[in-house]
């Protein structure tokens, strides 16, 4: 009788685990692999690569959530138009940053350490391995619209969004909202010029 009970439990457990939604780690792996595969292609020009990677990044990152978290309390006070303006620029800044950075580590490999899930939030721990460095990179994710999306990157325990929030907040405090937007516009222009 015990055996039957045990096997029943086993069957139930297996059935339950097969219902699992696409796991956050799988999502991060897909993102990292697709970005790296674009970067490692030799038949594309740098510009073509950028276009392709930018599409991928937008697919996996939750830009809206990142923009909102970056502005923090200023998001609440901003008008719909201001929010839109900010989001548009923010996407470009973020993309530029990501594109500039990721190339530096395209020779490294990525090791997936573990994932933790709680409700609609998840943390995926990874490491970028190069010949002499191990850089811990953590992806913070939320589950929206039926899939897991990244809303923060924590590199060597430095959260990108927290960093943005701190510096953007400071800039707003000193130069106002329009001052921030103006700075962002200049930055985007400069990024385009150098790329």
């Amino acid at each position: 009788m015990k055996k039957i009970l045990l096997s029943l439990i086993l069957i139930v457990a297996m059935a339950v685990s097969s219902f699992a939604l696409p796991a956050p780690q799988t999502q991060v792996e897909a993102m990292v692999n697709s970005v790296l595969s674009v970067l490692q292609r030799t038949d594309l020009t740098a510009d073509e690569k950028k276009v392709q990677v930018s599409g991928l990044v937008q697919e996996y990152l939750n830009m809206e959530s990142m923009a909102r978290r970056t502005l923090g309390s200023y998001w609440e006070d901003a008008t719909e138009e201001q929010r839109q303006q900010f989001s548009d620029l923010f996407v470009q800044v973020l993309e530029g940053t990501y594109l500039n950075r990721i190339g530096d580590y395209s020779d490294g490999s990525v090791k997936f350490l573990k994932q933790r899930v709680k409700g609609n939030k998840a943390i995926v721990d990874t490491q970028i391995l190069t010949d002499d460095l191990e850089i811990p990179v953590q992806y913070k994710m939320i589950y929206v619209d039926g899939r897991w999306q990244v809303f923060d990157l924590v590199i060597e325990s430095v959260s990108l969004i927290k960093n943005y929030r701190s510096s953007y907040g400071e800039i707003i405090r000193r130069k106002g909202y329009d001052g921030l937007l103006q700075l962002m516009e200049e930055k985007v222009k400069a990024m385009r010029a150098t790329s």
Partner: protein, 292 residues
């Protein structure tokens, strides 16, 4: 018959239970993925990690650290920036050309091995016996098998990583805050607390007791920092290029990183995990069956 009903009810109970659990638990299965699960995931860690990002939208203050000397700091920052681009970068470029990467990695290792006392003493001061043991073990292995620290077999073979501690972290461990932010010429971001820490640490640094003159010390130290700079992947260039205000960005990053380093003892236990050889055999903690 009654037994049968009992079993059915137990099974259905389990079924319902596991399904409702599955709603938030089933996903945490990393199933067959090649993950090295380092420690069991505790709820507290998780909530801490999300703390800031999920608790509404930013009632946290923007200034992560007091910066009353910002005007002076920005001046020093400007100086360091120019120093970096006009002096250090060309030097590093030449250095990279002269010394191949493995050579520079070995030089870095030697310096890192040499300052073991700083990490060991500070681990001890924070009652981090494991960290202290790690440092002693690493020093012994790397000085002997690693030929005077040129190589790092303690890490590359046994998978025993450094326990990065300094006196600034020790002060932080006992609850002392940063005081205020400081940018030091040549050195870079620091704070009142961490600057005191750096000065204190220099008394444990063996280089101090080699009888070298200040001039010689200065040269040795600049070799050390140039080597490290040559191995870093121009991170600073990237920050300058990407951020709206590099000064603010670096300040925030510094504070976040130090905060994590100070808090490290509390939640991070993944000091040992050996990817290469069988770590169990070479890991002294495993010999005694100590659970990590």
């Amino acid at each position: 018959m009654t037994r049968f009903i009992l079993i059915i009810s137990i099974v259905s109970f389990l079924l319902i239970g596991s399904i409702s659990c599955a709603a938030d638990q089933s996903l945490s299965d990393t199933d067959s993925m090649t993950s090295t699960s380092l420690d069991d995931f505790s709820d507290d860690d998780f909530d801490d990690a999300f703390d800031d990002n999920f608790s509404g939208s930013g009632n946290t203050s923007h200034e992560l650290i007091a910066d009353p000397l910002e005007i002076v700091n920005r001046g020093t920052f400007w100086f360091n920036d120019k120093l970096y681009f006009y002096v250090l970068k060309p030097v590093v470029k030449g250095y990279r050309w002269v010394a191949p990467r493995p050579v520079r990695i070995s030089i870095k290792n030697v310096f890192s091995n040499l300052v073991t006392p700083v990490r060991a003493v500070n681990s001890l001061l924070q009652m981090n016996v494991r960290g202290f043991g790690t440092e002693v073990y690493r020093f012994v292995i790397n000085t002997t098998f690693g030929i005077g620290g040129l190589f790092d077999p303690a890490k590359s073979i046994a998978g025993v990583d450094k326990s990065i501690e300094d006196f600034g972290q020790t002060l932080g461990f006992y609850g002392l805050g940063h005081g205020f932010y400081l940018v030091l010429p040549f050195v870079g971001p620091s704070s009142l607390r961490d600057m005191i820490g750096t000065i204190a640490d220099s008394y444990v640094d063996p280089l101090r007791y080699t009888g070298m003159r200040t001039y010689g010390l200065l040269i040795v130290r600049s070799v050390d920092s140039t080597t490290r700079l040559s191995l870093a992947r121009d991170i600073y260039d990237g920050i300058v290029k990407d951020s709206l205000d590099p000064y603010l960005f670096i300040r925030a990053a510094y504070v976040q990183r130090r905060l994590a380093q100070v808090g490290e003892n509390v939640y991070s236990r993944n000091i040992f995990h050996g990817p290469l050889f069988d770590a169990d055999m070479l890991n002294p903690f495993e010999w005694f069956g100590l659970e990590l």
